[in-house]
Symmetry: C2
């Protein structure tokens, strides 16, 4: 008999020279792992049936009962669940909703979505789940090379956001030195770069946009990230981009550090179950903790390895607010090639590179904002930030890219203005070749565009505005 939910030994540490936290689990044949996953899944489903009014109602309606699950393929029988559904349930049953499977008194920590639109979602997590999250995060962190001797600077906003807290819990379980610096307050980054210079932490966590902002502020303060900092590993989550080879090179060049891509969603904490190993060649799916499928967004059928789909996540060891077949709306491609690290998990070689709802449909071509970012970054002279404006011209979609050039270009252009013309062409060409669309490029000087300390918002879509204006015009 397997005992569920698992209780991790808080004193456990892998052998110091092992690249694995749990060698056997991480390197076992997939078939063997699937048997283990099936057992955990059955226990998780039974738990949900018994403790979650939310799932019981949903499953009864869908004519599903946990006993109907005989193998992992049967997962298809279970209806997917969305963020929206969860939020609506909380609105109708405030504040925690009907999927809180522990008693209110057993809630340990409360977080949530920022809820910029409408009512935010509330995440109420029990102590045992926090311990399981911490243990899994420590395990993945060990997998990408962090060790107890590391000093880990967490440069992310400590509030509702679970990115910062998840990184902190992992660091603490790893028995590393945590430096929970936070982010988000005015002037904080300036202070952060001086602390990083003084204290010499060996690892840095933040969103991808913020890491780049961090470097820029360092330069402004006369600090050279290469020599004044001591970051060996920079790990990030919550935004596409960190999987791009161009971004990994850039981070290596700026910080002399390895860039590690991580992250599923806040709901799915432990969110590091999408997580790169020290070879940094795409996020492994740590399937024995969170079971991840990639599905076709229309048919909801699993896609083959090598194909693109939407990650659908299922908790295997969550007792407070578990998610079963959580439809992420993200887009990725998965493969099952062997990894040099020896782990036998499938991988997302290009990370999560978009969201279904933010794919830009431009005259029939589908373009992800991350592809535009990659194309721009591949051009020498890119200044580090850009804005995507989607508009309509004579009823035809059009992309306008405001792109910053860098300081070198600025210097050259002051001597020879043709430099800017050439750069503009280079950007246009890169977009044409890599994204298959034509874009208008407007160059802007270094640091013109806003930086964010949270997730970057780079897209302005004013096509609807255009339509409205046209309607208004036609009335006159």
């Amino acid at each position: 008999m397997m005992s569920w939910p698992p209780v991790y030994d808080e004193e456990y540490m892998p052998p110091p020279d092992s690249p694995y936290w749990f060698k056997k689990l991480e390197t076992m044949p997939q078939k063997e792992r699937d048997e283990l996953i099936l057992k955990k899944l059955k226990a998780q489903l039974k738990y949900c049936w018994e403790n979650s009014e939310f799932y019981r109602k949903k499953w009864v309606k869908a004519n599903f009962h946990p006993d109907d699950l005989w193998n992992l393929n049967d997962l298809k029988k279970i209806p997917i669940v969305t963020k929206e559904e969860f939020r609506r349930d909380q609105m109708e049953n405030p504040p925690y909703g009907t999927n809180l499977c522990i008693s209110v008194d057993d809630i340990y920590t409360i977080h949530g979505t920022s809820g910029t639109t409408g009512r935010p979602a509330v995440f109420a997590i029990g102590y045992d789940d926090v311990r399981r999250i911490a243990n899994t995060h420590a395990r993945v962190m060990w997998g990408f090379g962090l060790r107890p001797k590391d000093t880990i600077m967490i440069a992310a906003f400590f509030s509702l956001y679970l990115g910062s807290w998840g990184a902190l819990w992992g660091s603490q379980r790893l028995k590393a030195k945590s430096f929970p610096f936070g982010a988000g307050a005015p002037g904080q980054t300036r202070s952060a770069v001086h602390w990083a210079k003084q204290l010499k932490p060996t690892a840095l966590y933040g969103t991808m946009s913020y890491i780049l902002h961090f470097a820029e502020v360092a330069y402004e303060e006369g600090i050279d990230p290469q020599t004044d900092f001591n970051f060996r590993i920079i790990f990030t989550s919550g935004e596409p981009g960190a999987a791009l080879p161009s971004m990994k090179e850039k981070i290596k060049k700026i910080f002399n550090a390895t860039l590690i891509d991580l992250g599923s969603t806040a709901e799915m904490s432990p969110w590091m179950t999408n997580g790169e190993c020290s070879y940094a060649c795409g996020m492994h799916l740590w399937q024995d903790v969170v079971y991840t499928e990639l599905v076709d967004p229309k048919t909801l059928e699993p896609v083959e390895y090598g194909e693109e789909g939407v990650p659908v996540y299922t908790h295997l060891e969550r007792t407070s607010q578990p998610f079963i077949r959580f439809f992420s709306y993200d887009v990725s491609t998965w493969i099952n090639d062997p990894c040099e690290c020896g782990r036998t998990y499938p991988r997302l070689p290009k990370g999560i590179y978009g969201r279904i709802d933010d794919v830009i449909n431009i005259r029939g071509e589908k373009v992800f904002p991350s592809a535009i970012q990659e194309a721009l970054m591949s051009v020498k002279g890119y200044g580090g930030e850009h804005q995507i404006i989607i508009t309509r011209e004579r009823a035809l979609d059009k992309i306008i890219l405001k792109v910053e050039y860098d300081k070198d270009v600025e210097k050259q252009a002051s001597i020879n203005s043709l430099v800017l013309k050439d750069l503009e062409e280079a950007f246009k060409n890169a977009i044409r070749v890599k994204c298959g669309v034509n874009a208008e490029v407007i160059l802007v000087p270094p640091k013109t565009l806003n930086r964010t300390q949270l997730k970057a918002k780079r897209i302005i879509d004013n096509r609807e505005l255009y339509e409205e204006l046209n309607k208004l015009r036609s009335h006159h």
Copy 2:
């Protein structure tokens, strides 16, 4: 034999109906407690001698050895230590200084001072100390009425600042529901008040200024703190003010909550060892965890109960960066009257109401900014914020107070402008009676003055500027 350092039972909870966490310790006769303190102190000093180069050097120079301590009076033999000394030591021995008594590898979490001037101080805290801090904070929190069933919203900046983290560790150990919302980012307070309305936490932690700001933002958002929130207890630290009866009344009126005053200094974490009980009649000195003396700032001799002095703190159970006779530069008055709660600790009935270095010396009269605040708050029509400008007029010191009036006054004044004249007189009179000085009062409309999310800075002293200007003038 007493074992030192103490290890607390993490599963311990007091009987639910007990007002005490450790009844015996909290209510024992002082003489008996002093014997216990002496034992702990001897162990702490021995530990420092053996593990801290910082103290060994300092004490050898002062001709002190831990064996010289026979009773608590002998504390006088130990030289005081200042924040500045500690910072200088870290500057010379970066980054942790020679008072880190644990191995670097055993550091668990790193914090610090904000260091607005000069190099900030680094606080490196070991895991065992974090557990001891958490246990003592839970004990004091229990003492002022928090229980495991509470939901505790922590509305303070999570970064270097130890206030937020200390409150969080205590909440977690108390097995309450923690809601670590944070503070400091633009727009965060607006979000906070909506969350407080939705989630209905029963307790709120923040700085005194921020709690008032929180109420103001609630009103702006159409939220009534009396009826839309559910705070039973509001606890605060880091700023004078929370001990004032006028402030306690104000908080009762706004939130229908009891205001609890807490806090020694970040260095001394567990900083709740200055902490009010549920009778909220002045902070108890929880002497068996941190031993606190009140001394005359000139002679450094202890002052009698009933008198004013500077708190000097000594850790009794810290293994990472312990402080022995830490001179706080704060000013308070202590008494040893019995408290209705039954605890036998001395008390600071007026809280910490100033700092040696921020007492305003005005034509020979000494005035603390907190006394000015109290005087202004006692006048009906005070709008919640003010600024103290100290200037020089014909070589004589002068206080100018910019004082906000409230919305009621604003309405009345729009009908009858004499209202403002009367209010100005009322403020002047209150300052004259309660502080013994004359001040010029300039009234300003509601919300004219800046609010802070951190500690309020209300004083502008431009006397030196005046001197400089005069010198410059005399050269022409």
